[in-house]
């Protein structure tokens, strides 16, 4: 799958898993931080994103410290998915 296609798919998954009401993929910028001041996600959302990676892409994040880097923004998630995806 091309990166652009994967990106759109990932953004749609994020909207669905986190039930981001009234948001479209275009509203999530590629380099916008997902947590804190960016998209404003919190610790419960981080678990939802870890579950998303596992269910949709067969990726298991074992060390929570890695999660902070991987889930920083859309670009970092895409890099990790392209490198590690099992599905």
């Amino acid at each position: 799958m091309e990166r652009e296609e994967l990106k759109l798919q990932l953004k749609n998954h994020i909207i669905k898993y986190l039930n981001l009401l009234e948001m479209t993929p275009d509203d999530i910028k590629d380099d916008q931080p997902l947590f804190g001041d960016g998209l404003g996600l919190d610790s419960i959302d981080s678990i939802e994103l870890i579950v998303l990676l596992e269910r949709e892409y067969g990726i298991k994040i074992q060390d929570p410290k890695d999660g902070r880097k991987i889930l920083a923004d859309i670009n970092s998630m895409l890099d990790y998915i392209q490198e590690h995806r099992a599905k």
């Binding site: 898993y17 986190l18 039930n19 981001l20 009401l21 009234e22 404003g40 919190d42 419960i44 678990i47 939802e48 870890i50 579950v51 596992e54 269910r55």
Partner: protein, 345 residues
């Protein structure tokens, strides 16, 4: 215990621009709530909420905003967020007990409603949830009553919440609690068959001991468990003797009659206690049947007392008098759980 403020989210127009005359029609034997826009709930919080939690918090926030202080949050709910609970349980099976998302679980416990109301308002006072099925709301009221006896200055938020979830609808349908034939709520009392129509809703009240500026007074509550119709009638007579002096009239007997022919005799024996000085009205065609529907009946009674009008579609039998000062509510859940509540001006 005096009601000072109330909100109601129901299948009808009861939240804003209340219109008791208008009657929305049930679909597939269900009366689903008309949900308002929850402007007071932050979007980040709202997106995680299931329907029961959303409705509960949505109905509570305007009341809390308008109140100086809330010293306790007491909620009655038989099922809490059952829909989310089942989503979580299904995930356990679907993903073979692997990693699960916590949101559905966190939001589905019955006490999530009272907890979310507390968290959203940074309210760290008494926070409790009663889950006694068809008497959950009554037990919440009794709890509030006891708390107000001990703490005369307290201001409490008390409410009843239940949602229609696919799980509880299907299970109760299989149990024969909803009608096999499709009917609409305008014909609820005409079908002499078993079962009723499903409903859902949230009713919230701010109550305290202060009579001044109150909407209504919940002056007595009694609950009982029995499947004996004569015992229900006997207990109702005792309730009236104990709480209403002989020189005072019960202007309206408001019942939870729900079109289930198996429960009709309970209502008949109770109605027979009254003479033609008491009107008889019913409310389940308006909100449907759910375990905390009695919370809706208290809200309706307070509206009737304030408006001094009983909309025609509620009336089963009209008395000779137009005076409305005292309403006695009788609700029956599945022929086992019964409650009497006396609401006065």
């Amino acid at each position: 215990m005096y009601i000072h403020k109330s909100t109601c989210i129901s299948p009808q127009q009861t939240y804003s621009d209340v219109d008791l005359e208008k009657l929305n029609i049930s679909v597939n034997n269900m009366l689903n709530v008309v949900e308002p826009k929850y402007d007071d709930i932050p979007l980040n919080v709202l997106r995680r909420m299931g329907k029961a939690v959303r409705m509960g918090v949505g109905a509570a926030l305007p009341l809390i905003k308008d109140s100086k202080n809330i010293d306790g949050i007491i909620i009655g709910t038989a099922n809490g967020g059952m829909e989310d609970c089942i989503k979580f349980l299904n995930q356990i099976v679907q993903f073979e007990e692997g990693r699960l998302t916590p949101t559905n679980f966190v939001q589905s416990t019955p006490n999530a409603i009272a907890a979310q109301i507390g968290i959203t308002n940074q309210n760290k006072c008494y926070n409790i949830t009663h889950v006694h099925r068809g008497l959950a709301f009554e037990n919440a009221l009794i709890d509030a009553q006891m708390l107000l006896r001990e703490n005369l200055e307290f201001n409490l938020l008390v409410g009843g919440v239940d949602e229609i979830s696919s799980y509880n609808y299907n299970i109760e349908n299989l149990g024969g609690w909803f009608k096999d034939e499709e009917i609409d709520n305008t014909k609820l009392y005409k079908n002499e068959t078993k079962g009723t129509i499903a409903g859902e809703g949230v009713t919230m009240f701010v109550v305290n001991n202060c009579k001044e500026n109150s909407i209504a007074n919940i002056s007595a509550i009694k609950t009982l468990h029995t499947n004996n119709t004569e015992e229900v009638a006997e207990q109702l007579k005792l309730f009236i003797e104990k709480n209403i002096s002989p020189d005072k009239n019960i202007d309206l007997f408001l019942t939870g009659e729900n079109g289930d022919n198996r429960l009709q005799n309970y209502y008949n024996v109770c109605e027979n206690i009254f003479d033609n000085n008491t009107s008889i009205a019913r409310f389940k065609h308006y909100c449907g049947e759910y375990p905390t529907a009695s919370a809706f009946s208290v809200w309706l009674a307070s509206k009737i007392l304030n408006n001094q009008i009983i909309p025609q579609h509620f009336i089963k039998c009209k008395s000779n008098s137009n005076k409305l000062e005292r309403i006695l509510i009788y609700n029956n859940y599945k022929g086992q759980q019964h409650s009497f509540m006396l609401i006065e001006k």
